[in-house]
Amino acid sequence: MTYAVDTIGFLNRVTGHQLLLWKVVATTTVFALAGLQVMLAARFYERTAFLGISGGTAATLHRWSGRVALVLAVLVAYSCIAGPAGPTSPTRVLLHSIFGIAAFVVLTVKFVILRVVKGGDKALPIAGISLFLVFAAIWATSVADYVTAR
């Protein structure tokens, strides 16, 4: 517990006591990238001619934007778990925690489908869309509150 609080103290200092703002920016970026991921996947699954780019380019962009989103998501999740995580009220906080946990469960499932399950690629669109919806819920239960509180 002490270690976690010290970590947050450190992060607060290095962000000039603007840790929450940094988290808001990172969470919004992850949400936007998750939306882009769905659109790029729709392109390389040939469901749309999004932006007129080729399927190969869409796949490459999908991979790299996914990596950026994952790094940001892990950093935000760590700062949440090390810091404010714990309370189950009000309801917004409880829902935010549930969606946060769900995000990493879905990510794990998606990676397992990608790497382990043969022919599992049919389930990837479902996992991808689920992930986007979970990130949308995380954003709505955190950033939306941050914005409306000001």
Partner: protein
């Protein structure tokens, strides 16, 4: 490599509920024991020399300051009592005062010589105001 990445995902997915359960357990334990925690040394807001005329208490509970607005006399000592299960801060929006992280059960006191708008920098929805009477 992907195994390591999955391991990080699983660790984060498990760490959150573990922390929630631990926090809830600590809160229940703290309520049972009802420990009296000494008030931290009062911090003077603007080096006011006058003694506190009155006192006021603001409770931090369920991610909120209660009451949100408190009115006290100039020079009053206001104590912030974290009765929540989460750490909070009392941070002046106009800069100058910052309690630092107050863990559950900790208190922070200050002598008020001017109206004050404050927030918790950990929880964006937490904000409050101290007004001066008279």
């Amino acid at each position: 490599m992907w195994v390591v990445i999955c391991g990080v995902f699983v660790a984060l997915a498990v760490a959150a509920p573990v922390k929630i359960l631990r926090t809830q357990s600590e809160a229940r334990k703290a309520t049972k024991e009802a420990k009296v925690i000494p008030v931290a040394a009062a911090k003077d807001v603007t080096k006011a020399k006058s003694a506190a005329a009155t006192t006021g208490t603001v409770k931090m509970y369920e991610i909120a300051f209660t009451p949100k607005t408190i009115t006290v006399a100039r020079g009053a000592t206001v104590t912030f009592d974290n009765q929540d299960t989460a750490p909070h801060t009392v941070t002046d929006t106009a800069a100058g005062i910052d309690s630092g992280v107050l863990n559950p059960g900790q208190k922070f006191s200050l002598v008020v010589t001017r109206p004050l708008d404050y927030v918790c920098t950990i929880h964006s929805s937490m904000h409050g105001r101290i007004e001066l009477s008279g």
